[in-house]
Symmetry: C2
Subunit: 244 residues, 2 copies
Amino acid sequence: MAVKLTLAYDGTAYHGWQRQHRLRTVQGTLEDALQQIAGEPVVLYGAGRTDAGVHAEGQVAHFLSTRCLTPTDWTRALNALLPMDIAVRAAEGVPDTFHARFSAKEKQYLYRIHNGTIRDVHRQHLLWHIPKRLNVGRMRKAAAFLVGDHDFTSFCASGSLQKDTHVYLKAIVIQKRKDEITLTFTAQRFLWRMVRNLVGLLVKVGTGAVLPETLPAILDARDRRAAGPTAPAHGLYLLKVAYD
Amino acid sequence: MAVKLTLAYDGTAYHGWQRQHRLRTVQGTLEDALQQIAGEPVVLYGAGRTDAGVHAEGQVAHFLSTRCLTPTDWTRALNALLPMDIAVRAAEGVPDTFHARFSAKEKQYLYRIHNGTIRDVHRQHLLWHIPKRLNVGRMRKAAAFLVGDHDFTSFCASGSLQKDTHVYLKAIVIQKRKDEITLTFTAQRFLWRMVRNLVGLLVKVGTGAVLPETLPAILDARDRRAAGPTAPAHGLYLLKVAYD
């Protein structure tokens, strides 16, 4: 039986998604809980690897188990065993051909910025605090140059082994509500650190350090050094993974 | 020169407001920062003592110092020295007769409840998670019995030395937005743990365990054992302290 899980977690206390020897990771924590319930080792396949400190509202993962529980029972048993900063939002039975990563049609990432003078004492690990006022109009103008089919080498982490750097970036939605600015990115797939690198540059546009009109040249450079810094991990959320 | 500070803090990592030997407290942390700036020991007087784990959005405190800095400079210097979970929202010069506690005319406390089935992985320390659906209408009906001038002995922490247990509770406002329920309490003064004890009972009304109509009898009992349990500290915020 294959089970698909929809997961939320706070990445603050974890060394990212992927299981690592002797380090506390989200995948490792979930696999330990699954093994306790199933009474056998369980391998969990995630739709995307989130880096250390990155959060998720809708990570998707699947596993196979000979233990026959209803989706509701898996949800209850897991939520009872898991630490408070990981939650199973939903579980459902899926065909054995389902694969959280390879069946995914689209992903959505959210980046949250706190754009206020005084720091938010409660949400230091949840939003990137930028005291300097950002111009959202300019950021939207720059984002328009990024949407579409491009070679995103300038926004791909140096050291990445990804060969195909062409990505169809379907949408970037930038919203402002009170002192919070959110950026939502939608694409079929993303390169390593791509969202954080895009946010890093868009923030430089927002402060006025980079002009929106220079975006095409930055893309054309196909050089990570041409773009801005990498935004910190703690403002990033894997929001949604869509399937057929 | 007397300076009035308006403070926000996340109480999670602190043993409450009041300075204690060898324990990390909000007052102690602030006094240490003030001493570093002033070059002399500084005593800080808070409007209200918050218990361990309780947060503040608008705690008020004052201090006297021979060091002459503008309010803006005090704010900047303190925010640069303080840990990220304490922030000075405002500073202003006040007459030497001003006292954060004795000049206060009114206080407002906020209590936040997360009333949803699945736990909120990001805000475990910011809201009281109650998975069982609460009936807000019933809670409001019960709250109406509490507003006004009453002897609140039934809601005063046992072991408290407070002699005058009469409080004029000006208002209780209960609001629901999505899966968050907030309760705002306004009064000239509060007894020790009074807000958390009121919330503990109002939640029992919300689940149906206590009927709103029994509230007058609970007040009349003048016995802590007549009321409900104490709500946890981490949902409570000192929201505002008002002065003339």
